[in-house]
């Protein structure tokens, strides 16, 4: 039991150790990992070392466990053997002692009944019978015999009394004979001795030794002598028994004539000796019988030795096969202190394989190997993950590089495509100026439109690329938001008329006339949104409204829509805007927060697609691309642009009802800023259109308030006072003479057609009232629909104003109607570029600065073609001296890359000089007359560059340039840039 608990306890300790080891390792791994995170190689070596150490440690541990457990098993086996052996020895001893005691009892009996009585109560027959009957008491003795002490002097008398002579024993032992042939009569008569010990009684089994003198046998003599001296039972050395030829010992007890004190001397004992009682012990059968009684007889081998002479132990029992395994020696005490006996025990079988130990250690080994494998795999995995990570990083880098490369590639390619496309477009434009018939005109126009579409597409892609590469920057120039919206409207007027969709714009009065921001980008956003709406709207209207953010917050729900069709609640489109929630805190006096909504009654956007319309190249569904074309990039660009303008964009849409896109943008108020000069010019421009109508009064007949509001807004822009009436009868009444005179009447086409009679009445009234010439104008959506109803000859055909309404359009129509006469040539609503360019540039004095004579010559040639007076300089320094006020130049084109002094530097210096002179004039230090009475010198300087991408606006404006044109010159771009500076002047000239 104890061993078991010990083993368990040991096992527990082992597991504790194991656990410690593992957790220790874990800590180490972590520690080392964090330490070597940078160097993979070191970590790999380290982990390999740890792995090897781990395996070696556990192999040793497993061996130790094996050794420990097997030694435990051996120990246990040894103990089992010892206990078994001792048990056997004890039993043997006990049984022997029982027999011995009995024999001793017999000796007492003989001394009483044979020697104590006269005549003896015992004769051979009695003895034999008695012994035979009591042999079960002495299971170990094969026979008992009694020899009497006979001195030589008594021999003759004794022999006579017994009737036989005393025989000697020696040669019997020397020539052992077979049982059957043995005959005591053959024995020799004993020679003359001092005393004799002839056997007188014997058990039947040993009856043949009667009359034999036991003293004559060597062993027996010694035994007998020792027995009578000691008074105790004495054993002989084992010898072959006479008859059975088996190993046996003889136990001899001396029988004394009288009782002796326990401490009698040997001499006294010899003197008192009467005879000797001997029992023959058959050791072999004795042990065999004993072993048979025990259950595990087969398990062990037992040997019994007489070890009185230690160097020559005499085997008494057992086989002699030498086996040097485990064995146990147990001492036997048979009551004879002279004789020493030992019992040797061995296991019959060899010790079984220590399976428990083997399995345990192998198990431990396997577990540790598995743990090692896990560790190894983990390390490998970590290494692999790390490799993967590095690879991913590498791939990420490459992907990013590829992205940048893609953007750059797009920019480059777009740029490269743009250049030849401009050639194509330019040539087409020139072709249109030549003498062509109708069909050819149509072909060319189509080609040109396609080309323009392509260029705009490329521009979009380029914009996307620029936005992605973060190169897009916004300008900050003054612009007229209303004019821009008019432009956008005129761009789509053709399409809206074709589709009979009403297109309208309304700008709140609270929006300042001039704002500072990026007009081009603003226009782009609105164009995108309106273009989108036009694409998807087949009936109804598209309505662009511009308000201040502060305004719409309080705005109530409009009661009716522009075309009367249901629309999406536009407030939902800006529901998510942040600026509405924190608008109070952010708005400063200078910041103008405007919100633009584009509302349409188109097919709407499915709910599930609404979230991704602002992703690039994402349309509602692929089929859209097939039916409506487009790249799907426009909204994404718009979103980016809106973000650049610190605004937000959102939409609300219901399928089959329509969509409303809204965006906010932050501009600065143009009137209170540095842009005074330019904004003044812009105002002049719009004023010049409207001045002639200033103070006139108009009547607008329109039953629909929303639409009336838009029309009123546009008419009012021309300085005309507007009165709105919902129907014609009211209109007629309001024309009565008591009211202020009315110059013109605007009638919605819808009303006109619905109620022709009333219209005619109105017209007649107007005709009758001849005090002022009152002009009637129809506001119409499409060109084709007007003609009906004008058949009656007495009704004068009213002038038709085509929608969408916009200031310039309206002014031109009015001019025609009132006979003011058109000043500007509108051809299909477009301005003829090269003609305008000639107008703009004619007579201008322009300085071209380029170090390259060829470029200089080409640029000069191009400008000269448009009638400009060109001077040139080939160095930055010359340009500075030429442009130091006072100078006659109206503009300067400056090459950027020049040796000695580049365009940027030259411009910077020119601006410095101008600034100091302006300061001087304003301060009154310098006489303004010396500078041609110009109070503010600022010559427009345009950069010329071959590389549009590289020469960013920012760089140009930073050093005071007003813009840039790409080399080689291209009419449209030149016009665009030049018109920014010359338009006012040309108007004035005319």
């Amino acid at each position: 039991m104890t061993t078991k608990t010990g083993l368990l306890g040991d096992g527990g300790q082992i597991w504790m150790k194991l656990w410690d080891q593992i957790s220790d390792c874990g800590c180490k791994i972590h520690h080392h990992y964090s330490r070597y995170i940078g160097s993979r190689k070191v970590r790999k070596n380290w982990s390999r070392k740890v792995l090897i150490a781990w395996i070696v440690f556990w192999i040793i541990a497993a061996l130790w466990v094996f050794w420990y457990m097997s030694s435990q098993a051996v120990e246990k086996r040894k103990e089992t053997l010892a206990s078994m052996c001792d048990e056997r020895a004890r039993m043997l001893q006990d049984q022997f002692n029982v027999s011995m005691n009995h024999i001793q009892a017999m000796s007492v009996m003989i001394s009483i009944f044979h020697h104590g009585k006269n005549p003896s109560a015992i004769d051979q027959r009695t003895f034999a019978r008695y012994t035979e009957k009591t042999s079960f008491e002495r299971p170990l003795t094969s026979g008992v015999a009694y020899a009497v002490r006979v001195l030589h002097t008594e021999r003759e008398q004794f022999e006579i009394q017994q009737g036989w002579t005393i025989k000697r024993m020696d040669n019997v032992e020397q020539t052992p004979v077979h049982d059957d042939e043995y005959d005591p009569a053959d024995l020799e008569t004993s020679p003359v001795q001092e005393e004799y010990a002839p056997v007188i009684f014997a058990q039947d089994t040993v009856a043949h030794i009667i009359s034999v003198d036991v003293l004559s046998g060597k062993e027996d003599r010694e035994n007998v002598l020792r027995a009578r001296e000691s008074g105790k039972g004495v054993l002989t050395a084992p010898f072959r028994l006479l008859k059975t030829n088996r190993l046996g010992v003889i136990l001899t007890f001396a029988v004394y004539k009288r009782d002796l004190s326990p401490n009698a001397t040997p001499a006294e004992r010899i003197q008192a000796t009467a005879g000797y009682l001997g029992g023959i012990f058959d050791i072999e059968s004795l042990v065999e019988k004993l072993l048979q009684q025990l259950a595990s007889k087969q398990a062990i081998l037992v040997n019994v030795y007489d070890t009185t002479d230690i160097s020559h132990p005499i085997s008494m029992y057992g086989s002699n096969d030498s086996f040097d395994g485990l064995h146990r020696v147990s001492p036997l005490n048979f009551g004879d202190p002279f004789r020493k006996h030992e019992m040797h025990c061995r296991f019959k079988q060899k010790p079984p394989w220590p399976w428990v130990a083997i399995t345990t250690s192998v198990g431990i080994l396997i577990i540790s190997l598995l743990v090692g494998q896990i560790f190894h795999a983990t390390v490998n995995r970590i290494a692999k993950v790390e490799d993967d990570y590095h690879e991913m990083m590498e791939l990420k880098k490459r992907a990013e590089a590829a992205d940048v490369a893609k953007s750059r590639f797009l920019a480059t390619v777009s740029h490269e495509i743009r250049t030849p496309m401009n050639g194509v477009l330019g040539m087409l434009q020139m072709l249109m100026d030549t003498d062509l018939d109708e069909t050819q005109q149509d072909y060319v126009r189509t080609a040109r439109e396609s080309g323009k579409a392509l260029v705009s597409l490329i521009n979009e892609v380029l914009d996307q690329a620029k936005i992605e590469s973060g190169k897009l920057e916004l300008e900050a120039v003054s612009f007229d938001l209303r004019a821009i919206l008019d432009d956008v409207l005129s761009l789509f007027s053709g399409k809206s008329q074709d589709k009979k969709v009403e297109l309208a714009v309304y700008v709140s009065n609270k929006v300042p006339a001039t704002l500072v921001g990026d007009p081009g980008r603003f226009r782009q956003i609105v164009t995108n949104l309106v273009g989108n709406s036009i694409k998807f709207t087949d009936k109804g209207h598209i309505f662009v409204t511009v308000h201040l953010v502060e305004e719409v917050v309080e705005m109530e729900d409009p009661t009716s829509s522009l075309s009367g069709l249901p629309v999406v609640d536009r407030r939902r489109s800006w529901a998510g805007f942040r600026s509405f929630n924190q608008e109070a805190s952010t708005s400063s006096s200078d910041q103008i927060n405007i919100i633009v909504s584009v509302e349409d009654t188109g097919q709407g956007i499915p709910l599930e697609a609404q979230s991704r319309v602002f992703n690039p190249f994402m349309q509602v569904e692929p089929s859209i691309t097939r039916t409506h074309g487009g790249t799907g990039i426009g909204l994404s660009i718009s979103k980016c642009l809106v973000h650049l303008m610190k605004g937000e964009i959102g939409l609300a849409s219901l399928p089959q009802i329509g969509s409303t896109f809204s965006f906010t943008a932050v501009f600065t108020n143009g009137c209170s800023n540095f842009g005074d000069q330019i904004s003044q010019q812009v105002n002049d421009q719009s004023n010049s259109i409207s001045s002639e109508f200033q103070g006139m009064r108009a009547l607008l007949v329109d039953p629909r308030p929303a639409r009336a509001k838009v029309s009123k807004y546009h008419i009012q822009r021309l300085g005309i006072h507007v009165e709105v009436v919902p129907d014609l009868s009211l209109g007629v009444s309001s024309l009565s003479p008591r009211n202020a005179p009315i110059n013109m009447v605007f009638i919605e086409e819808e009303i006109w057609e619905k109620d022709l009679g009333m219209s005619v009445l109105l017209l007649n009234n107007l005709r009758k009232d001849c005090r002022v010439s009152i002009k009637t104008l129809l506001l119409s959506n499409s060109t084709s629909a007007i003609r009906s109803g004008f058949s009656s000859p007495d009704v004068p055909t009213p002038f038709v104003v085509m929608k969408p309404l916009r200031a310039s359009m309206l002014a031109a129509s009015l001019q025609r109607a009132m006979g003011v006469g058109s000043r500007v040539n509108y051809r299909n609503g477009e301005i003829h570029t090269s003609l305008s360019l000639s107008n703009l540039l004619h007579g201008r004095k322009i300085l071209v600065v380029d170090d390259n004579p060829v470029n200089l010559r080409v640029a000069a040639g191009a400008l000269k073609k448009y009638g400009a007076d060109v001077a040139h300089a080939d160095r930055g320094k010359d340009a500075i001296s030429l442009l130091t006020p006072p100078h006659p130049f109206d503009a300067c084109f400056m090459d950027i890359q020049m040796p000695e002094m580049d365009g940027f530097e030259a411009t910077r210096r020119i601006r410095d000089i101008e600034a100091s002179i302006n300061k001087g004039i304003q301060g009154g230090e310098v006489c303004a007359e010396a500078y041609g009475n110009v109070s503010n010198w600022h010559v427009p300087i345009l950069a010329m560059t071959a590389d549009v991408i590289q020469a960013t606006n920012e760089e140009c404006s930073k050093c005071g340039m007003d813009g840039y044109v790409s080399k080689p010159f291209e009419a449209e771009q030149l016009y665009r840039e030049v018109s920014r500076f010359f338009q006012t002047v040309s108007d004035e000239d005319q």
């Binding site: 250049t419 380029d850 004579p853 470029n855 040639g861 000269k864 073609k865 080399k967 080689p968």
Partner: protein, 149 residues
């Protein structure tokens, strides 16, 4: 008749110059800039280009012969040549110049010398072509035809 013949030859030659990539659309623009008020414009610009280019090529060879090559100077020269060649539309010269500038950035004298050789070759080629073209034009004008440019 003779004028027609010459006109046709001129147009064919003109087209071939474009097809073979000697000239690009810029040259057309140049031709458009020429009108009655400015009759010798193309000739003027082209001869300016020849003059300028020859000077630049000489400067370049000198600069590359120096022991210590001043790459900045060379770059400036090549830039000039690139600008003027793109201005008149001699695109093969221009392309050669672009390659030249790249090697200039790398400061590779060997390659620069090679490029110079190539630029010169392209220049001479385009020069011959342009001269032939202008000669044809002159012939047309001399024969009493209208200038095809």
């Amino acid at each position: 008749m003779e004028v027609d013949q010459l006109q046709r030859t001129f147009h064919d030659y003109h087209a071939s110059l474009f097809n073979e990539g000697f000239l690009d659309e810029q040259f057309v623009q140049l031709q458009q800039l020429q009108d009655e008020s400015n009759p010798g414009f193309v000739v003027e610009v082209v001869s300016l280009f020849f003059e300028d280019s020859e000077r630049l090529l000489n400067d370049l060879s000198k600069a590359l012969d120096q022991v210590n090559v001043d790459f900045r100077k060379i770059d400036a020269h090549v830039h000039q040549l690139k600008g003027s060649s793109s201005s008149i539309g001699a695109q093969r010269v221009r392309n050669a110049c672009i390659a030249f500038r790249n090697f200039c950035d790398e400061r590779n004298i060997e390659a620069c010398l090679q490029c110079l050789q190539q630029v010169r070759q392209e220049y001479l080629l385009v020069k011959t072509k342009l001269e032939a073209l202008l000669r044809l034009e002159q012939q047309i004008v001399a024969a009493g035809g209208a200038s095809p440019m």
